[in-house]
Amino acid sequence: MSLNPTDDPVSQAPQKLDANAVRRVAEGRHADQSPLRRFLRANRPALGALAVAVLMLLIFLIGDPTVFTSWNVYRAVLIGLPVVIFVVVPLVFVVTVGEIDLSFPATIGMTGWVFALIVQAGFDPFLGLLGAMVTGVGLGFCVGWLVVYANLSSLIATLGMNFMLRGLIQIRTEGKSIALPNLPDSLAYRIFADQYLGIPVSVFWIVIFVAVCSLIYNRHRFGLRVHVVGDNPDAAQQMGINVRRVRLLTFAFVGFGASLAGVFAVFINYTWWPTSGESYLLPGLASVFVGGTAPWGGIGTVIGSAIGAFTVSFIQTGVVGVGLSGFYVQFFYGLIIILSLLGHRWNQIRYR
């Protein structure tokens, strides 16, 4: 078994031979020697996302040292951040399995609505949370069924579902929001949404969520199967993995994450709006890829996506904080997304 790539028919295929060969040998020789090296190699995309985040912070810090050394800017971002991360992390699973889900904004709206209705009716917010979760998972299964069993393209089907669900909300509410003025008095609020020492409690929950999801992604049978199905569905099927079931479950998982996002969004302002979730579509999607998950499926990173979500969420606050007008926000969104993708492209080779 020769290591010399020139007499190896497989690596001679359409790949960039030289770069690949060098990398192959360089990586391989140290494959199992140093734990640090192994860690760096295994977490390359996430570390790349972290580098982007740090770089961005540095630029803002240089731009306006007074604003960006005060905690208030970070707290402002941290309040909204958990909502985004609750959907971005499950999206990593969907993208890894080789699909996409654009229906999550409407699911955020729907589940928040269910939560608001239950609380408004005088029930405990915990019951509202449960109702939202059931709704979210249920919607996730519906969307997943359309893609997996009805064989629709996930791009189009989930986009359609997004419009349809949002449309249902608009038809029923006629644009009216639901205010829940008593929500801050509840036990649930203190557990999920209060602030202690200037840190929103939701940050604590999101850390747990990301940690558990990362473990599932990297160290659980489901995570392994998500990777394998996204990498080579035929092989997965031939090895006895129920490919459809794995795909379906990732969509249900997005529904679950969206329900948490929907509820936490209501907690922030004690109000549910019929547009709730709408603004998360593009930043949410961008976060997944800024975080270092590959758009072609099979590989990704949960922690990277959380960092990506931070980066994307920070842009808006940062641009305004640095003294530029809000008109610059979209430009910087785009710039960060493109630069991140270029970085990740250089950082990871696609094996075929």
Partner: protein, 258 residues
């Protein structure tokens, strides 16, 4: 009768109007190496996929150790001790060697979490067992970094884990170098010595002849002949028989069909 691992009875498979298999009977007993040969389009791959549970037959009966099975699929096939090394190797090339070996049959602890250390250990052991002693690659190496022969090694390592009773090798030597081919043969010998059965599919008749005890010749979706090595005598006899199938001469046409 020795222990019969699997038996197919009158298996038919058609795709629309086109039939790939038109009633095939096939069986593999404990400890024998069966060579499955046939021209392109004879139905070899379809037959393999049916055995592996990846494709469902249109009709016919499958018996595992004498018992008919229902709802035969890939998971059932593996649970019955049948492992398949597919022609395309069925590997997820962006994943580690370990994950490829354990996909679909993960070693898990509480709540379905992987026992990652145990899996790595087992993967290392399997790779040593099949002569994958390269220091350059470890169980965490990405399969996409490996050469064709090394990838084949991963696919074989996956097949021998769990002491499967029957290993199906679908053209395992295609696109391999001479030394890599030799390794595959060495593996087959080892497996035979350990009392496992092998179903070996190949285009190179001489390769198949050398390692098989019995031959099944497939021709246009039907079994044209089942013959033992002793009855056949030489590889050339097998080659002649197959040539005769492909281009029957008028004189021997009747004999060929019989």
């Amino acid at each position: 009768m020795t222990d019969r691992i699997i038996e197919l009875r009158d298996i038919r498979k058609s795709y629309g109007q086109v039939y790939a298999l038109g009633g095939v009977d096939l069986h593999v007993d404990q400890g024998e190496v069966v060579g499955l040969v046939g021209d392109n389009g004879a139905g070899k791959s379809t037959l393999i996929k049916i055995l592996a549970g990846a494709v469902r037959p249109t009709s016919g009966e499958i018996l595992v150790r004498g018992r008919p099975v229902h709802g035969w699929d890939a998971a059932q096939s593996r649970a019955a001790g049948i492992e398949t090394v597919f022609q395309d190797r069925a590997l997820a090339v962006q994943q580690s060697i370990t994950w490829n070996i354990f996909m679909g049959r993960e070693i898990t602890g509480p709540f379905g979490f992987l026992r990652a250390g145990k899996q790595r250990e087992e993967a290392s052991r399997l790779m040593r067992e099949i002569g994958f002693t390269s220091k350059v690659f470890g169980p965490d190496s990405i399969v996409g970094q490996l050469s064709g022969g090394e990838r084949q090694g991963v696919a074989i390592a996956r097949a021998i884990y769990n002491r499967s009773d029957l290993i199906i090798l679908d053209e395992p030597t295609t696109a391999l170098s001479l030394t890599e081919t030799a390794k595959v043969f060495h593996f087959v010998e080892q497996a035979r010595a350990a009392g496992r059965s092998i179903l070996f599919i190949g285009h190179n008749i001489h390769h198949v002849y050398d390692i098989s005890d019995r031959f099944v010749v497939l021709d246009r979706g039907r079994v044209a002949s089942q013959i033992t090595k002793a009855e056949l005598g030489s590889a050339d006899a097998l080659v002649r028989f197959m040539e005769e199938l492909a281009h029957p001469s008028p004189k021997t046409e009747k004999a060929g069909k019989a």
